[in-house]
Amino acid sequence: MTNTLDWIVKFAEFVAEKGVPLGMQMVDAFADEHPELKEPPPEAAQKDIDKHIDQLIDEKFSS
């Protein structure tokens, strides 16, 4: 799996190489050549942010 930016860069290169107008056929052709799936971000962000905020509170009010 690749991240979104990689996919966009590859798609831009693909369009530049093929030199044909954009359209669903182009997207299908790209997907055939690059069948990798891009994955949505993991769910960890919420817990990581909560942990970060809890630490901020502890630091500010520890004294």
Binding site: N3, T4, W7, V27, D28, A31, D32, P35, L37, K38, E39, P40, P41, E43, A45, Q46, I49, D50, H52, I53, L56, I57, K60, F61
Partner: protein
Amino acid sequence: MTDIGYFLVFCGSMLMASACTPSAIAQATNAANGVAVFSEGAHEVLAGSYQAEQEVCVDNSTTKDEALSCVAMVRESYAGAWKAYRALRFAWLGLASSIEGARLSNSKIDPAELLVKVGRLASTQEVFRQAIQPLVSNYDEHP
């Protein structure tokens, strides 16, 4: 029928018509990747807004109890959006596992299964979009 209803019927028809061709996996991949692109941007904005609102709580509070109470309210107001995001990701995993399974076994995707999973993904994406809209409408990523 709503716009999203017509869209789902259109997607379903396209998938049914193309499910017996080799590009069915490619089309399912396109659907999954489209949601992944949306999710990445929306998740970034959601996480940024979620963190910013809690930092404001910490900055503006004069006591620990006040900060904890303010932070708890922010977390509660975002709980539905995070739940919707988990549902969206779960639906994406369902479609992705079908795509990867078909690819690994070199078999075609069952069109009925694909239709259900793409429909579920589209509906969870809409629920997530509606859940985050009021929360992030005033969020400026680069103040």
